[in-house]
């Protein structure tokens, strides 16, 4: 394989060797139907214009590229810019994708929407667009996450979504995803499954990436205008990896722009308690695609650990696996401890409370600041805001008192 990845996937839904459709036969027709509808809408100007309009007037795009002056001073290293996805409606990048998918669902005549959620940001973004378009919405969420991210659950309920607690397995994102897939297998004729990240069977990794690429397109334009040239590096957290691909894709052929995906290092990569799928996993199959995955010698998926409910997923998007193999993107990690420190630091220096997921990317920058020259510019995808993380912060403070 060369050093560049064609803008995949190929006809068989693969990025390099990764991806595919490892799903029960029952939903195969729905994936075909979705793929052909999506390919049609990608070329349809009316659809694209409508999407653009909702992104502007409803989501609030474009989001600013903000120079984090005091954070930069504190680092004494590279100049750090935040791509402010936290300023989107509902407070994270997730809504870029749900707006796109709800328009697809409507055009395909589906009236019932299901989604999985970890941190609740995707569930919230889905519940929001369902309210806007008058669709029935069911969100699957692990019981553990329901406790960790209570504020988002209340919002989803207010918006009229039904939040179904999932208690099987580890009661987190992976189990919520399995349960959403079971619902889809059962109600596939009437139901549109809005997947929240660049994971799952083809064509989902492609569709979610495409709806998120707006992040990088804007960043590229804003960099040229505000910095005067392209940034030296892009940094984004990676759970499934949608905000990262959203930022990276527009820069893929700019060879000089470095890209760093930051996975959840949990209690440390040697601890066995992390969600660093690319760093510590190996290729395997879960939730419909072949990609890096954390599993034991018997092929059983291992319970991942992260302080953030949005990153503790044992898999990762297949395109990330391909990008890791060819070395186009570098994958690092940040521990829970570093993340909490960065969470507090950026809140206090910039007056912006990052999502715990975003704080992983910020923690990586803090830890790796010496790798960059002071003259270099780094863009961090500020994927979401941290209001939802107050219960986590409270629990951590209590633990240490």
């Amino acid at each position: 394989m060369g050093s560049k990845l064609e803008t995949g996937p190929n006809r068989r839904g693969r990025f390099g060797v990764y991806g595919g459709r490892y799903v029960p036969e029952t939903v195969m027709f729905a994936l075909d139907e979705l793929e052909s509808a999506y390919r049609g809408f990608r070329r349809d100007r009316t659809f694209q214009n409508e999407l653009k309009q909702y992104l502007r007037d409803y989501v609030g795009r474009p989001t600013p590229l903000y120079f984090a002056e005091r954070f930069t001073e504190h680092l004494g290293g590279p100049k750090v810019w935040f791509k402010r996805e936290d300023l989107n409606h509902t407070g994270a990048h997730k809504i870029n994708n749900t707006v796109g998918q709800i328009l697809l669902a409507r055009a395909m005549g589906k009236q019932r929407i299901i989604a999985e959620t970890g941190a609740g940001q995707h569930g919230l973004a889905t519940a929001t667009v369902c309210a806007r378009f008058g669709m029935n919405c069911v969100v699957y969420m692990g019981e553990e996450d329901i406790h960790r991210q209570a504020p988002n659950v209340e919002k989803m309920n207010l918006l009229g979504a039904k939040v179904v607690p999932v208690s099987s397995g580890s009661a987190t994102l992976k189990d919520a995803t399995s349960e959403a897939l079971r619902d889809w297998v059962t109600n596939v004729r009437s139901t549109f499954y809005i997947i929240g990240s660049v994971v799952g069977p083809h064509p989902y990794p492609m569709i979610v990436r495409d709806f998120q690429t707006i992040i990088g397109k804007e960043t590229r334009r804003q960099s040229l205008k505000q910095i005067g040239h392209l940034p030296h590096a892009l940094v984004a957290c990676v759970g499934g990896g949608s905000n990262a691909l959203g930022l990276f894709t527009a820069f893929m052929s700019d060879d000089k722009v470095k890209m760093i995906g930051v996975e959840a290092g949990g209690k440390g990569l040697g601890s066995g308690q992390h969600a660093a799928t690319i760093r510590k996993g190996k290729p395997g199959v879960l939730h419909g695609s072949y990609s890096y995955l954390i599993y034991d010698n018997d092929g059983q998926v291992v319970l991942p650990h992260s302080i953030s409910a949005g990153l503790d997923y044992p898999g990762v998007g297949p395109e990330h696996s391909a990008l890791a193999d060819i070395g186009r993107v570098e994958y690092g990690s940040a521990t829970d401890k570093d993340t909490l420190r960065a969470f507090r630091l950026v809140s206090q220096l910039e007056g912006i409370i990052p999502a715990m997921e975003t704080a992983h990317a910020l923690a990586w920058v803090v830890r790796n600041r010496k790798k960059f020259k002071p003259s270099q510019h780094i863009v961090v995808c500020f994927s979401g805001r941290g209001d939802k993380d107050m219960p986590i912060l409270r629990a951590e403070s209590e633990k240490h008192q």
Partner: protein
């Protein structure tokens, strides 16, 4: 290879390896064979069984907490083989097979005496490597057809299956409480006309009446979740085995 011809309707019970105890599945399988089963499906437990409903999820979870792995399942196959020459088909998800090694898996399965494979998250489109290994090791590949499968896919799946096809009766996961109705009948009837190979029907079989309904068109019926439920709700292991035997015996009776 699995011989399937004849008017006799096949009764195919499903049991999870490692459920209810590490070695307890053997007792259930023996009870199934003694109650008149024609083929046994053995479930290989997986941490994330996305095509399964609550009963099989539960049995899979119990099996894993009993510490069951692929090697234990292969030992179970050998033990069943010592007891009977009944056809044995392994059913499970792809990742444990992939982790074990596809070739090594097919070879071991065949050596231990199993006859076929059903992998619900591996549609024929993705199964090239496994099906090659299966053929080399004389294992029968069974793919699923769903009520939502297109005519084109039905034809391809029919061709891809070695000896017989598995028709999923409902759009749903295993153990769905759905009642079979006229649309189930017409779906199975149309499969009867379209398929060149024999087929068994499964998902949602819970009683002799539901089994008999499917067997009007299908060559056999698979029953899994209802057996686990019957066993689980019994007050002890012995009466659990009895309940399973009785349910299978009743179904056997209505099929004959």
């Amino acid at each position: 290879m699995i011989a399937m011809r004849g008017r006799h309707k096949l009764l195919v019970p499903f049991f999870t390896s490692g459920y209810p105890k590490a070695k307890g599945a053997l007792d259930l399988i023996r009870a199934g064979i003694d109650a008149g089963a024609d083929m046994i499906e053995i479930g290989m437990p997986f941490s994330d069984p996305m095509a399964d409903g609550p009963e099989i999820q539960l049995s899979s979870g119990v099996a894993l907490s009993n510490g069951i792995n692929m090697t234990d399942t292969l030992r179970l196959v050998e033990a069943v083989r010592r007891y009977s020459d009944i056809p044995l088909v392994l059913m499970g998800y792809f990742n444990p097979i992939f982790a074990f090694g596809i070739n090594r898996f097919a070879k071991s399965v065949s050596t231990c005496g199993a006859d076929g494979l059903i992998i619900p998250d591996l549609p024929f489109d993705e199964a090239d490597e496994l099906s090659r290994s299966a053929v080399q090791n004389n294992l029968s590949c069974v793919y699923l057809i769903a009520p939502t499968s297109s005519a084109e896919r039905v034809e391809k799946i029919d061709r891809a299956c070695t000896d017989f096809v598995y028709a999923v009766t409902v759009t749903g996961v295993t153990g769905a409480g759905t009642r079979f109705d006229r649309s189930t009948d017409s779906y199975l009837k149309s499969l009867r006309q379209r398929l060149k190979k024999p087929f068994v029907a499964g998902f949602g079989v819970s009683s002799p009446a539901s089994a008999a309904r499917l067997a009007r068109y299908a060559d056999g019926v698979v029953i899994g979740s209802a057996l686990i439920r019957a066993f689980r709700l019994a007050k002890n292991q012995r009466s659990g085995l009895k309940e399973v035997s009785r349910l299978l015996g009743d179904i056997r009776h209505t099929l004959d």
